[in-house]
């Protein structure tokens, strides 16, 4: 894998993200919804002067191609435009909502890997044992339980019933967030030396991240199990065992390393999904994140916000996939040689 390859991948990533915005831009304009009608009140929508000012303000009075060119022009200056619904720069909205999603998704994916991989490995090694059955049951529940149901059950049980979980939201009611550096409360409270807020942030992240991790954990457990079983049946594993290599070395040095490749691919996609698609978890746990912002923008056809979100989400997917591709080199030396 050369530097040229990495540069080319990054360039393609940018072009693909832009292409995604064009597709979304066109699709959004073919939907029979007038964003002005969804935003303006009944009385104002009957006043031509107010409607005209709105259309002009958001550039909706211009031809579609011109609107897209203006979007690209602004993008070249790092400006994603102004949201029709929130009436402020889309970049500012994203700066506010993305850290909450990033923090939640990151904790969730760490949990998913931490639980899913060991459980999958154990299930494969102890195939058809009670451990394997437990692992399969856990992954089945994780994959099949609807997120909105799981979220509410978890909240009702641990917050409403047992009263051991804190209230929904990123922090307690009235708590002032730490001074913003990254927007990630875990990092910002640590930087500010505010351990109370750090603890509170952890506590508030616990339930939503477990809920969010459930599906991914299930998928990772299943994939790890299947991948490990597949690898353990390979000839080179039999050869290693025949040569007298220690069983532990066979499992972890020879089998797990090869089995990890599809898991990393899957994990990358799952992480990108968690970053952008946690609408129900964010709604029930009162997390002001990207998933909910994207959903609300889509419902009212907030064109600038939709385009901005598409760009960011597209880039996120592409960059995560790029990182996964590059990490193959670490796991599989054959990728480097190719």
């Amino acid at each position: 894998m050369t530097r040229g390859y990495v540069v080319a991948r990054i360039a393609v990533t940018g072009v693909m993200a832009l292409a995604a915005t064009l597709v979304v831009f066109l699709v959004a304009h073919f939907v029979p919804v007038d964003p002005i009608q969804t935003q303006l009140g009944d009385l104002a929508s009957s006043k031509p002067e107010i409607v005209a000012r709105y259309r002009a303000h958001w550039g909706l009075d211009k031809p579609l191609w011109e609107q897209y060119l203006i979007f690209l022009q602004k993008l070249s200056r790092g400006d994603l435009g102004q949201s029709i619904a929130t009436r402020r720069p889309v970049l500012e909205d994203i700066k506010q909502y993305a850290p909450a999603s990033f923090e939640l998704a990151t904790v969730a994916i760490i949990l998913a890997f931490s639980i899913g991989i060991p459980l999958g490995v154990l299930a494969a090694i102890k195939r058809d044992s009670w451990l394997d059955h437990v692992a399969r049951a856990v992954s089945l529940v994780g994959v099949s339980a609807p997120t909105f149901w799981l979220a509410f059950i978890a909240l009702a049980l641990f917050y409403g019933g047992l009263e051991i979980a804190p209230s929904p939201g990123r922090l307690d009611a009235g708590a002032v967030p730490p001074p913003q550096v990254t927007g990630l409360y875990l990092i910002d409270s640590l930087l500010a030396g505010d351990f109370h807020t750090l603890a509170s942030t952890f506590a508030h992240l616990l339930l939503p991240s477990i809920v969010l991790a459930a599906t991914t954990t299930g998928v990772i457990t299943r994939t790890t199990r299947v991948s490990m079983l597949d690898t353990l049946d390979q000839d080179y594993i039999r050869t290693a065992r025949a040569k007298g290599v220690l069983e532990q070395a066979v499992r972890f040095r020879h089998a797990l390393r090869n089995a990890l490749i599809p898991i990393f691919t899957l994990g990358g996609v799952a992480y990108a999904q968690l970053l952008s698609g946690a609408v129900m978890t964010e709604t029930i746990f009162g997390f002001p994140g990207m998933g909910r912002y994207a959903f609300q923008s889509a419902v009212i056809l907030d064109f600038p916000a939709i385009s901005g979100i598409t760009l960011v989400v597209g880039l996120t997917y592409l960059l995560v996939n790029l990182a996964v591709d590059l990490s193959y080199a670490l796991i599989d030396p054959r990728v480097v040689r190719r």
Partner: protein
């Protein structure tokens, strides 16, 4: 170190980190502190709040905050939406044969900034609202200009003296701002305000009003924080701090209310409110709204041949089980106006509904269908917004009930659920045969219901009202005598009922669930849900 060592270490590290995360959460996470007597916490969905600039905001959730941080010249008390009460103005009178209104301001009122309230602030506020040409500016359309008579007297000159202004002035959009500070922050009250006003960013984070509370923080889709205004002209507000907490999910609001993390839950469904009845420490507070859910039937033969027939539409109206909707779907927590003016305004009462309104009469419906040449019924498309509700009952449920009712006279309603934005666009364009939708007031004058029925709503149902009915609406709007005005609106409603394009299904009673730790919590239909100044710790 070999690659397998690296892999193993990565696995170990992630496992360790995950376990540590869990432990830290459990060991260090403490439940949120419940709202104490010095802090009032409201749980509601504030995702629609896109600004707290009083002259720009025009959404559902913002007025509860705006009304607590800004005050208007006049106001209305819950239940009485006819007579304006003094607030920042102690008295007012019409001048120039109705072409102007003079307001006498309350002396010794200070803004939270410490500046005194003057007529200049009234002029700036009203003219800024008008010239911003934003969503709320339509409310100030009838204001030509504001003249400063003296520091405590302002004269509002009207564009059209036949159109009422007073009912509009209670809206939080007319909340008086400290003109000196807003000007310093780039605010304008000149015709170029729509392009050059820069004060909104400031007003989104700080309030400059005379209200009992003042805004200290607004984190979008998270929380609004207000503290007690030290310069308030009446008794200081009861709470040191008020938090309006964003809780988009109503089931989560129930959990938080039960735990005591919030003092009031504002967005509960009918079923959730029922489940809370009898719960110790929780009370359901009710308030009659002026909102209503209605069905709009087109007059356009191109959209529906049968519906273009007035007699067929009248048959529809007689087939609907109105009492069944109110008792069966909303548990009786609603009333019904006779037509498009809500009970409480313009002579509209429940007695009037019984007297002149439609009621279910299946024999009459069948007879009218026969008269319309449709003895075997007909079918039409009934559109409604999916995933939304009014007064705790969803459009879907109401649509299903209507479908069942109409089937009894062989009328088939084909249910067409639509996404809300889609529905609004199509309905406002007049592209739908029949639409279940919703009306809520911009201000408290019957003209705001009567005029649209013969103007923009008439266009949506493709009805060209006869000049006589339009003239009647205008005559009622301009009538100064309250009794005569009510009588004219009643006459107007009779014509609307005969026309049978608009069928009001119910006018809901809204309910909030509150903890017994607070008192004075009274719902209003005037637009701001609750006057937070009246809420006190028990």
């Amino acid at each position: 170190m070999t690659r397998s060592d690296i892999v193993r270490r990565i696995c170990s590290a992630t496992t360790l980190l995950g376990t540590l995360t869990l432990l830290l959460c459990v060991l260090w996470g403490s439940p949120a502190a419940a709202g104490t007597k010095t802090v009032l916490v409201l749980g509601t969905d504030i995702s629609d709040t896109n600004t707290l600039d009083p002259q720009r905001q025009f959404v559902y959730s913002a007025p509860i905050t705006e009304h607590a941080i800004y005050e208007t010249l006049i106001t209305m008390t819950p239940g009485d939406y006819k007579d304006a009460k003094p607030l920042l103005a102690t008295k007012w009178e019409t001048v120039d044969n109705g072409a102007g209104l003079v307001f006498h301001l309350r002396p010794n009122v200070k803004f939270v900034t410490g500046n005194p309230l003057t007529a200049e602030d009234v002029k700036f506020t009203f003219e800024r609202l008008k010239y911003l040409k934003d969503d709320a500016s339509a409310l100030a359309e009838n204001i030509a200009r504001v003249e400063v008579v003296d520091p405590l007297t302002a004269k509002v000159v009207l564009v059209d003296k036949a159109q009422p202004l007073l009912p509009f002035l209670i809206a939080p959009n007319f909340g008086i701002v400290d003109s000196k500070v807003v000007r310093e922050q780039g605010g304008l009250n000149t015709p170029d305000a729509d392009k050059n006003d820069k004060a909104t960013a400031f007003l989104d984070q700080r309030s400059v009003g005379t209200g009992p509370y003042t805004l200290t923080r607004w984190a979008r889709s998270t929380e609004i924080e207000m503290v007690r205004n030290p310069n308030y002209w009446r008794q200081p507000a009861a709470f040191e701090r008020v938090l309006v907490r964003h809780i988009p999910d109503s089931a989560t609001q129930v959990l938080q209310l039960k735990r005591g993390d919030i003092d009031a839950a504002l967005n509960l469904t009918f079923d959730q409110l029922n489940s809370l009845k009898g719960t110790a420490g929780i009370t359901i507070v009710k308030g009659q709204s002026l909102d209503f859910m209605y069905v709009a039937f087109t007059s356009s033969a191109a959209l529906s041949q049968p519906l273009s027939n007035k007699v067929a539409r009248q048959a529809l109206m007689y087939a609907i089980d109105y009492d069944g909707i109110i008792k069966g779907l909303i548990g009786g927590d609603a009333i019904r106006p006779a037509s498009f003016i809500p009970v409480g305004l313009g002579g509209s009462t429940t007695d009037l509904t019984r007297e002149i309104g439609y009621r279910q009469d299946l024999d009459k419906a069948r007879a009218l269908l026969a008269q319309a040449g449709l003895p075997n019924g007909f079918s039409f498309d009934l559109s409604y917004g999916s995933g939304a509700d009014v007064g705790g009952v969803s459009y879907e449920v109401v649509a299903q009930k209507l479908q069942a009712d109409l089937a009894r006279v062989k009328i088939q309603a084909n249910l067409k659920p639509m996404e809300q934005g889609n529905l609004r666009t199509a309905y406002r364009k007049g592209d739908l045969a029949a639409t279940i939708t919703f009306w809520n007031p911009d201000a408290m004058d019957p003209s705001l219901w009567a005029d649209p029925t013969v103007e923009r709503v008439a266009k949506r149902v493709r009805w060209e009202p006869a000049p006589a009915i339009v003239a009647l609406a205008k005559q009622a709007d301009a009538e100064p005598n309250p009794q005569k005005r009510d009588a004219l609106y009643v006459q107007f409603q009779k014509l609307l009922i005969d026309q049978a394009n608009l069928c009001v299904l119910f006018q809901p009673v809204y309910s909030h669930a509150i903890r017994d730790s607070i008192t004075g919590y009274q719902l209003t239909a005037a637009g701001w849900q609750v006057d937070l100044y009246d809420v006190k710790p028990r």
